[in-house]
Amino acid sequence: MFDNVWLIPLLPFIGFLINGLLGKRIKNETVIGGIASAMVLGSFIVSCLTLFNLLSLPGEERQVEVKIFSWITSGVFNADVAFLIDPLSCLMIMVVSGVGFLIHLYSIGYMHGEEGYYRYFSYLNLFTFSMLLLVLGNNLLLMFVGWEGVGLCSYLLIGYYFHKKSAADAGKKAFVMNRIGDFGFLLGIFTLFWYLGSSHNVWTITFTELANNSHLLPTGGIVTVITLCFFLGATGKSAQIPLYTWLPDAMEGPTPVSALIHAATMVTAGVYMIARMNYLFIRSPETLAVIAVIGACTALFAATIGTAQNDIKRVLAYSTVSQLGYMFLAMGVGAFGAGIFHLMTHAFFKACLFLGSGAVIHSMHGALHHAHSNDDAQDMRNMGGLRSKMPLTFITFLLATIAISGIPGFSGFFSKDEILWQAFSNPHHGSLNFLLWGMGALAAGLTAFYMFRLVFMTFFGECRITPKAKDHLHESPMIIVLPLIVLAGLSVVGGFIGIPKVIGDLFGGIPNYLEHYLDPVFKHSEEYMAHHGAHTGIHNIALEWGLMGTSVLIALIGITVAYSLYVANKGIPARFVAAFPGLHRAVYNKWYIDELYDNIIVNPCKAFSQFLWKGFDVIVIDGAVNGVAKTVMACSGVFRLMQSGLISNYAWSMAFGVVVMLSYFILK
């Protein structure tokens, strides 16, 4: 039934091999892009079939293991290359291969004429492969392979323009930050493996077995340690405080990469991982609290930075960080389904936004190039009024913006609202709940503000580039626009699979399809909560409506403020900046977090290493080694001098020897 599952990751991998090995010979861009896209499309089709198959099973049987081959076996440790087909992974492969396919398609147009075209597509395929491996893997180790694989592809694609130092730096930064997370991930694996094995003789890292044995795990204690380790991994991969700084820098990569990797798929891996091991996280209230707080903080913090950025992609990048914060907030309040829901809708609208911005940049770049201008094609201060020049892009972009801002009816509204409601009403954090909700709501308002700020600065008003360049602005080709349209459509309607119960009831009991669909995945958590849930969450329909209204209101306020500042009264932002120069500088410079890291971690580390090398290794250790040699040589010099060449001295030496010998043995 699931015999073809292995095709899902394999097809992109084949694409990677073909393009990676032969791409240089093929030369024809259409063929290269075509192969790459076709492979991902193939994956998507197989994924659809898989989903279909899965849905044909009754709910409790929707968990299928597919073993490919035995990977590492050593003593009690065993890891297979095996896939897990369950609703969660199916949803993920659908999103990954679906959105992935669209972005591949988009890239054919976007990357047209780039040097290393084949390289780009092979990396992109490799990424798709790794991501699919990550979500399909049935054990922690295989997940880790995908986990690192996507990190690697991210590194490669961020550094795609490797001749630019900033790009190479950004790639390295991303990789290293991710590695810090991986450190946590690995420790999590070790601790989990060791704990279950040594205390319960269950030596496993396989998800299905872990889930089935999750009742062996205690609440808190060691599980807190394990989950915090895993969460460290998630913060690295999903750009949460404190490891988020790589993501904005990652915008050095081509825009479709940002869309695919740094918005839609890879960065959500952390969320996926927590959802995958929900039975573990639910057992540690402490970890959940940490996750929730960090998620909320990230959501708010990144949103503040997003308000002052001028680079169109950076705004989106901070927006991504912020939205990821939402997802973690959802995880932290135990609303795994909501988090996954937001993951999905976010994939749609954020991919659309990135691709839209890509279209804008593409167009701007072309125009500026024609005009021989050195202006920055990504700086929103150079844009404006593109609405008329690029109508399709504008419309899709606007739809996605509305979705992200949480305007009712659009997908973002449903998922975000679900999260905010859960944050308020969950049974885990007690008095913290209100704070979490407040931060989330505030971040939602900021999101609406900066997103509309972006829309207004880019598409409204007067075009701010030279008239000569302006003439060259034009709508993008169909292959670029088409994915935009699809994604915009999904951004609009994607939310309907997860309509909250209160709204569903209003419309004659439309069920929350997604929640039902995901139920088997979270059943262990629910069982746990059923047993241990000391106090259940709040169930107050009126309150839910009220909060919903509040958050919509906040979003609308954000939009209004953006409108008034960037369309109606354009002078205010400048005055504001003039009034609070320090604040603006701080926000504009991302609160100086990068500088902080440089100064308290990176630079001391380098200085310390220099000391270790030149001070310790060379002087102390090698000095000791050479010191021994030098001492011996010095002795040699002294001993030589005793050899005076004079017979009487030699005779004295002999006589001395005799006397010493005699006196020792006779006086003894």
Binding site: T73, S74, Y155, H163, V176, D182, L186, F190, S198, V625
Partner: protein, 558 residues
């Protein structure tokens, strides 16, 4: 077939004899011939691989009298088991590549160079297959000589210092070990052990206080060779000065001699002492991992950087060994192979750019990826392997080591060592970035040629192995697994006895008298049965020590 081990060992020496008859002017003949010899040796070693039965015993054993005088009996006693098998294959595999790598790099004194290479190969293989400890020692010392010449004659600017340091440093350690060898033999002969075969000595139950001294002597010698912090300073010097092939062999094979020494000699011979020293050695290993990574980070010379990375990698190997469990040991054995492949490849890569630019300073490069795409790709793959990215060989070994360490008493050490994965990424990628990425603004770099067919041919097998071992390591693990199981069983109960059954230990006879006339094969089955040790994975043991010591667990009962 029964002499296949000797054949493999001495084929290179045969090659040396024939090399004498090739005039030294015909360099390409010399090179080609040497390459052929190493290739044939590799093929011969494949016979060993394919004939190897997956069990814990020594195979292809040859055991003939050699020296018998005074209190000593030395025998030409050789054989492979799962532990040495892959190291032998690694040796024969790396050798042809090393020869290829010197095709252009060594123009001067080609004949002598090739002779050195071949003698080195013989001594390396010989050391790995020796069962007789005296024979091992002979090979162990013998291998210093060709390496000494290779660094000293074909090395870089500071080669004399480096080669002298390498030789004397290694010599100091191994001579102290020699004293311990002799002492061990004396103990053995008191207990009626008839020769130098290491298998006999496994049965010897040595007084723990004596074990401590002897373990120290062994451990020092091997630690120098590994090299472990703080005995590592000869390595960067030797590596930097050595010609490419020298560095490759040094890193890929010779350093393994140290870790192999621990596996084969230091730990199973003195299990109690090994346990006592485990915290110390693990600490040094972990310090080595972090320290070497930090120092590597700020190196200005690519080769030195790679040399320090070796120290870090071998720190992982040492940590895995002292986990005293199957995962850790397996990981260490794999990591030895991995390190051989990836660090060998890194040195080859450094050699390639050195041949082109005659500099190894990182600051002299930059942006090479544009000019040399194939090179960049291969370099990237090897770098990733060295970092231990999953899917490459480096990951499997490191992971098993860490998980093994984590399960053992060395949990906190493993935690710290895990942070090594971060540092590895930092120094390798930073170096890669500075060399390969950025603007191609040095005019000297703008005319560099990409790899030619020969160079690609050298790298291709390595790259393939990087992936094969990363994706499908089980065939490698399977062959070594029985031997490792047995080794772990041999080392572990000793400590358990010490902990749990001190009375039982006391009642054992001091030396287990070996029956005369036993061959190595027969004797090798003895350790688990002979000394009244508990069988591995005995279900009763964990139960006793479980509440306070969850570490003691039945690893072997899958």
């Amino acid at each position: 077939m029964s002499y296949i081990l000797s054949l493999t060992t001495f084929l290179p020496i045969l090659g040396v004899l024939l090399l004498f008859f090739i005039p030294k002017e015909s360099k390409s003949v010399l090179r080609g011939f040497t390459f052929a010899v190493t290739l044939v040796t590799f093929l011969a070693s494949l016979l060993i691989l394919f004939g190897f039965q997956t069990n814990a015993e020594f195979q292809f054993v040859e055991n003939v009298p050699w020296i018998a005088a005074g209190p000593f009996v030395m025998r030409y006693n050789i054989g492979v088991d799962g532990i040495s098998l892959w190291l032998v294959i690694l040796t024969t595999f790396i050798m042809p590549l090393s020869v290829l790598s010197t095709w252009k790099a060594v123009e001067d004194k080609v004949k002598e160079y090739m002779i050195c290479l071949l003698i080195l190969e013989t001594s390396l293989i010989g050391a790995f297959i020796s069962i007789d400890m005296f024979l091992f020692y002979i090979y162990w010392e013998l291998m210093l000589i060709p390496m000494y010449f290779m660094i000293g004659i074909w090395g870089g600017k500071n080669r004399l210092y480096a080669t002298m340091k390498f030789f004397i440093y290694t010599m100091v350690g191994s001579l102290l070990m020699l004293v311990a060898f002799i002492y061990l033999y004396m103990l053995g002969s008191q207990a009626g052990i008839p020769d130098f075969s290491v298998l006999h000595f496994y049965n010897l139950r040595i007084d723990p206080t004596i074990q401590v001294w002897m373990f120290m002597a062994f451990a020092l010698a091997f630690a120098i060779k590994v090299p472990m912090f703080p005995l590592h300073t000869w390595l960067p010097d030797a590596h930097t000065e050595a010609p490419t092939a020298g560095s490759v062999i040094l890193a890929a094979i010779m350093l393994k001699m140290g870790t192999y020494g621990y596996v084969r000699f230091a730990m199973p011979l003195f299990p109690e002492a090994a346990h006592r020293f485990a915290p110390l050695l693990a600490t040094l290993a972990v310090i080595g991992i972090i320290y070497a990574a930090l120092v590597a980070m700020v190196q200005e010379d690519v080769k030195k950087l790679v040399a320090y990375s070796s120290v870090a990698h071998l720190g992982f190997v040492m940590l895995g060994l002292f986990a005293f469990n199957v995962q850790g040991m397996t990981g260490s054995m794999l990591q030895m192979l991995n390190h051989g492949i990836s660090t060998g490849a890194l040195f080859l890569i450094v050699g390639f750019i050195y041949e082109r630019r005659h500099t190894r300073l990182i600051s002299d490069f930059g942006g090479l990826a544009k000019q040399m795409p194939v090179f960049a790709t291969i370099f990237m793959i090897v770098t990733l392997s060295s970092i231990g990215v999953p899917g490459t060989n480096g990951f499997v070994g490191e992971f098993l080591i860490l998980i093994g360490g984590y399960e053992s008493e060395l949990r906190w050490w493993a935690v710290v060592a895990t942070s090594g994965v971060i540092f590895a990424a930092v120094y390798m990628l930073w170096m890669f970035q500075r060399v390969m990425f950025g603007e191609l603004n040095n005019p000297k770099n703008q005319k560099l040629l990409d790899l030619d067919a020969r160079e690609i041919a050298i790298m291709l097998p390595l790259v393939v192995l990087i992936f094969v071992m990363g994706v499908y390591p089980n065939p490698f693990i399977e062959k070594m697994d029985p031997a490792i199981q047995k080794l772990v069983a041999h080392i572990r109960p000793a400590s358990m006895n010490a902990k749990i059954l001190p009375a039982a230990l006391q009642s054992l006879p001091v030396g287990h008298p070996a029956m005369p006339g036993h061959s190595g094969m027969e004797e090798s089955t003895a350790p688990s049965a002979a000394s009244g040790q508990l069988p591995a994975g005995h279900p009763g043991i964990p139960a006793e020590g479980q509440s306070s010591e969850p570490v003691v667990n039945p690893h072997e009962s899958k």
